[in-house]
């Protein structure tokens, strides 16, 4: 029976100082890594520890929140159905110019999840095949969930396009 603490220990043991931080809250464990180690850590979880499912990718903007050395985090929620255990990996993103490697080739769902994080936080995923907005409209300027985005800012609305109801380029 593998627990989340076991997973954290295995990751810590395997990656050593590449793990910037570990965190446990009510039995839920997570590790924080640098963008350079992300793919190695996720592939280790997938191939060695049975985390076959990437459930969610989310972003956090810690601007003005505390004294940490980076502004953003990208959070990868992992599930191992074989072992019935969950785990989360956080990537420390220093600022808006720091890029994170894509994992869409490991889990296809990461394609849309990373588009959402880019749409909301402006975090660029290196190697992503189609990094376009997915929730906001195409003419949207800025990234809405950044803490320095003014909540009352209004955006230019898009005009109807010729093919608005039969757009086909959007699937990939």
């Amino acid at each position: 029976m593998m627990t989340e603490a076991d997973v954290a220990a295995r990751v810590q043991e395997h990656f050593g100082t590449a793990v910037l931080d570990t965190y446990t809250f009510r039995g839920q464990c997570s590790v924080t890594v640098a963008p350079g180690s992300l793919r190695a850590v996720l592939m280790f979880l997938r191939d060695q520890l049975g985390f076959e499912w990437l459930m969610d990718v989310g972003g956090v903007d810690y601007l003005g929140y505390d004294e940490r050395d980076w502004r953003f985090e990208v959070v990868y929620q992992m599930l191992s159905m074989a072992n019935n255990v969950r785990f989360r990996v956080k990537v420390a993103v220093a600022d808006e110019s720091t890029e994170v490697p894509t994992v869409y080739d490991l889990w296809a769902i990461a394609n849309w999840e990373e588009r959402e994080v880019w749409d909301m936080y402006g975090i660029v995923f290196t190697g992503h095949p189609n990094l376009r907005r997915i929730l906001c409209h195409d003419e949207f300027v800025g990234h809405a969930l950044r803490k320095d985005y003014p909540i009352t800012r209004r955006q230019k609305l898009s005009a109807p396009s010729e093919n608005i109801l039969c757009e086909t380029s959007d699937i990939a």
Partner: protein, 159 residues
């Protein structure tokens, strides 16, 4: 006037605008653009208890080309705005717009980066209905308001 001697059957004299408005207002064809909970309330409006067919507007069409009353019911996001505009443009004249509820009329409490702050930023609106969601009586009241507006219109106002 002696007209009766020329026409064998009884007849009424009236104004053309009067007849046209009379026809229009008692047979509005609604196109529901329902995006949120107000559209659920609309089910009550058209169903037997409140029954919008008492006012001649029960024939709901799901093609804008067959409708003359656009019912916008719910939150309109900025991404959806061009769709709503296109739907409105596809409706043939004459046409009227009913903005149902707080979200469609003002954005409601979605005062944020993604929500249109009232559909009148995109299309003209004839009647706003307050409420979150409005009661069916309120919507029927708004339909009657539009009927009164049609009464004041002239056929030549529309082409």
């Amino acid at each position: 006037m002696g007209l009766e001697s020329h026409v064998s059957q009884p007849f009424l004299a009236t104004r053309l605008d009067e007849v046209i408005s009379w026809g229009r207002k008692y047979s509005m064809w609604p196109m529901p653009f329902g995006t949120a909970c107000c559209a659920i309330e609309f089910m009550g409006v058209v169903s037997s208890r409140f029954d919008i067919s008492r006012f001649g507007a029960e024939l709901v069409r799901f093609s804008p080309r067959q409708a003359d009353l656009l019912l916008v019911m719910g939150t309109i996001t900025q991404k959806q705005a061009p769709v709503l505009k296109q739907i409105y443009d596809q409706m043939p004249n004459p046409k009227w717009v009913l903005s149902m509820g707080a979200c469609a009329s003002t954005g409601g409490f979605y005062d944020n980066y993604t929500t249109v702050q009232g559909i009148d930023e995109i299309i003209p609106v004839d009647v706003y209905v307050a409420g979150c969601p409005p009661r069916p009586e309120n919507v029927i009241g708004a339909v009657v308001k539009i009927m009164e507006k049609i009464d004041r219109e002239k056929a030549a106002d529309w082409r």
